[in-house]
């Protein structure tokens, strides 16, 4: 392979024109819209059409820095959730021709809301939120247009992030078909927080319950990300922490326990702030406080190694 060929890191910078620090950037389901949020208390929406990137809207309403944004599945409409230091979660909807309106304000939290994440579309419009008040809330949109909120005590000192499990039960090669989304569907999410823990929450007959507590980090857990599953029996969850480590939690079958695997034996040079899985769940991207982004892949021995190019 030629040296030139491996240098394929195409990189295109988009100037958001935020007036203060950016906190999150999130592409929509198709990757055609980008939402960014900032300490300037605004959310900006961009249309990404090939090489054109066009700012289409600035959403205002939060009274503090906006931490995270997340897009709902397009079958529910063009809907965006945002959470803020002001302790509120807003749901925004584009009513057509860029006419964005706030359609819901969720203010059950008493401190900064640090993370929001829409659940898999098979579960309907459902949103999980993590807050510095130590609680995690789950909002479900009902057919009559009302919202149902469940607030859970999750992490003392504060909850930092939430991530939903794929709706398909791992190992189910044939997924939900025949219009029966409640069959073979997993309704779970993971949360992490300042108690150094990662927690798994599952929905059952009695509503939301803490299913498992994963202990492994020695400092605040900053981010958690559940890997997409493509028919394999394994379940993967990645968490990163103030302790400068990344742990990949692996569950070999729905009944087996979570096994802790350190992404690398030695610590990262700085706090690890975010982890993200590729669409097919095979590559893990890790961003640490020393301005480095590394990509990791599991080898056949079950060890994690940096993504390689032969002659990079």
């Amino acid at each position: 392979m030629s040296l030139e060929k491996s240098k394929n890191y195409l990189h295109q910078g988009l100037e958001t024109h935020h007036e203060d620090m950016v906190h999150d950037a999130q592409l929509d389901y198709y990757g055609l819209k980008l939402a960014t949020c900032s300490s300037d208390r605004t959310i900006k929406i961009f249309d990404l059409d090939g090489e054109d990137r066009r700012e289409v809207e600035t959403l205002k309403g939060h009274e503090g820095p906006v931490w995270r944004v997340d897009w709902a599945h397009p079958k529910f409409g063009v809907i965006l959730a945002s959470c803020s230091y002001d302790g509120k979660v807003f749901i925004w909807k584009d009513h057509g021709s860029g006419s964005w309106k706030k359609i819901k304000e969720h203010s059950l939290h008493t401190a900064s809301v640090n993370s929001v994440a829409w659940g898999p579309h098979e579960l309907g419009p459902i949103l999980a939120c993590a807050s510095s008040d130590g609680k995690v809330s789950v909002l479900s949109f009902k057919d009559d247009g009302s919202w149902d909120a469940t607030v859970l005590d999750a992490h003392t000192i504060g909850a930092n992030s939430v991530s939903w499990a794929p709706a398909t039960i791992p190992g189910a090669l044939v997924q939900v078909t025949g219009g029966a989304p409640n069959v073979n569907v997993s309704k779970r999410f993971a949360s992490c927080g300042c108690d150094n823990l990662v927690k798994i929450w599952a929905y059952g007959e009695d509503g939301w319950k803490e299913e498992e507590v994963l202990e492994g980090h020695t400092d605040w857990v900053r981010d958690v990300s559940w890997a997409p599953n493509f028919g394999l029996p394994q379940n993967y969850l990645a968490s990163c922490s103030q302790d400068k480590t990344v742990i990949v939690w692996k569950k070999n079958s729905p009944t087996s326990p979570w096994v802790k695997i350190l992404l690398k034996p030695e610590k990262f040079l700085d706090v690890v702030w975010s982890v993200s899985w590729s669409t097919s769940g095979t590559i893990l991207a890790v961003a640490s406080g020393d301005n480095k982004v590394t990509l990791w892949q599991e080898n056949l021995k079950g060890e994690w190694e940096k993504v390689q190019e032969l002659d990079d």
Binding site: M1, M21, V22, A25, G31, E51, G77, D311
Partner: protein
Amino acid sequence: MSLFSEDDTKVMQFTPFTFEPPPIDYSQFEGVSSFPSSTQFYEESANAETFLKEDVFDKGKGRQAEAYEPNIKAQKQIIYLNPPLVYDLDYWSNSNQSTGVKFHPTRSEDFTCYVFGKEPNEKVKKEDYTLDTRVYNCSLANNIDSRRFYNETFSIFREASRATSSKEWREKSSRVKLLCDISWSYVNAIVKHINSLQERELNTFRDMMSIWELCRIMYFIKSERYQRLSTDLVTWLNECYPLGALTEEELNELRESPNLRNTVVFWSRLYKLILRGLFPQAINFLRSILIPVESDKFINREIVINDIIQSVIKCIKARPKISSHDTDLAWRNWLSQCSQLQKSIILENKFLEESFVKILKILAGDPDAILSKSSSWLEGLIALIYHKYPRCASSDIKAILGPIFVRFSVYPDATSQVLKRIFYQRIDDALGYCKYIDPWLLSHLMDLLYKVDLDEKIGEKSFRERCLINFAEPLLTHSTLWQIGFKYLEHCEIYGKVYIEEFIGKIPFDNERKFEKILKICEDNGLIFDEKCITTTMGTKYMQIKRYGSTMIYYMRAGKDENLKTICNMFLTQYVETGKITFEEVIDSIPVDKDSNESVNFLSRYRLYHSLIQDEFFHQAAQVLVECLRSEISPKEFWGVLLFHTVPLMKLGRRKDIKLFEKIHIDEFEHYCTQVLDRKIEDSWIKLVQRMKRWHYKECGYFNISEDLKPVKIEIERYKKFLSKLKR
């Protein structure tokens, strides 16, 4: 074309962004082969460099091939995100900023990076950070710009899949032909594509072609009677790694030489031509050093040399064809001739004598002579096979490799490693290296090799699928190749469906044609849930732009009864609010039948009622009204409205002595009055009447309606009397 002018400040421009990989430490390469890597070999100018390397890395220093592994791990590296600001570790650790990363929602090799604030600005000083408000889209993938190539090779792939179930496939002899035909089609496609490529991709595709052709020779032709291996290999070498043209320096040396016979460059070139079986060119070369002498002069040195040249030419021409029937005997006779000629060459000019002898030794298959004149392991190997083992089979080659790797080492580049492993018959390892060259090569070559029953050597079947999926995945999000991507997935029996299911919903669609194509893929693969989900999304898109007819059509297709009910109720509410039928065009554009959704069916019937009234078909209008009530397909709180509609019809009947309603209908109206006044819907009913009152009496001058349905009840009583009178 952009809808916005260039000076529109809202149009975002690309801004440069750099990843800075650490410099590559070339010292990690423990040995550099004297043979240039395949890509360098095409370039004439590279030859001089190659020979320089030859001097630095002495021949014989190469290690045994199996002991040598390229140090791939040492080449792994971190991707450094490096915005154009001066940052250092301490700066990042102590400042209120860090790097964030998010993978692209549909493309596995794309991700977004940005600099984010760790703490809210309320808690930090301004100097704690340098504002960087850009978001970077990064991609590890190649741009797919070989659309025609992918389209063409997919057709071959599909033909190959079909071939395995054909009658010809079951017969061994015709199977080989089929396989070679398929392989040849792939090579043709690569060659055709090479002609249209830029230099950068050219190298990759040339590497792909050389690997593919070698596999064809080594694996696809397996007949016991196949005796052309050595010839095919030498042809392969000359086609894929042709002997470069002479350099300007070499040409000058030849031009300026007073006697070519004593020129090193001349003989070096001639050795190469002989090594590579390029005999016509070699003969031309030899003829060029024939010096014309007059026959009547006594024998001199030149005449002797001329005779030797002629004898060597004759010997070359006499080389038996490997495929002839009497090869063994002919080959032995020819070797004997070579040997005799070799012994007969005694010249004053020792350089010339040695050169002629060397040529004959190469022709006779002398390993030392061959390897000493070869520039690379590949050239040496093929020359050795061609001259010493002309009838060997592919399985014999690994035994020949030993002396090659004592003398030569192999470049650590992927192509060289693949070729080495193919000769070693280690196809599983070879494929492992193919992934570093191109996913197309790995997936298609592996697919074909599975068809040659090499699956035991390659590994489990799922490996083939994984490779095909890895290749197909980037196609799925390509604007024009996405359908081919899904077709590939359809050829993956184990995981294909899961991937189709995961990705099909992520294909953006902005027109009905593409939408229908997406649905067709769902239909072909039995993905009912996904089909409904995508159809719902289409409905929601139309809903957003208030095209309710299309919205309802798609929601009906998706079976979204609740959504349909919401839209129908919205229209009914509009009627209650204004007294205007705003859904005429919408409902007329929807194909409605008795099996259609209940809400839509009611709306259609209700629209019919109003048009009948407008056209003064009162009898039919009365019947529709009765049907609507009887079928109970309207919302319960709307029953009252329907009952209000009965009032003017009953009045009209009485006034004109027309029996628009039967007695039984009147009894039913009474029953529905009771139902409407049921406490369960009391609140919503009262609100509805209040809204309707605004226009019903004051604006339109209709009768005064009331929550207790009094006008209806009064009219019912009157109509009963009217019916009694009619009866009498």
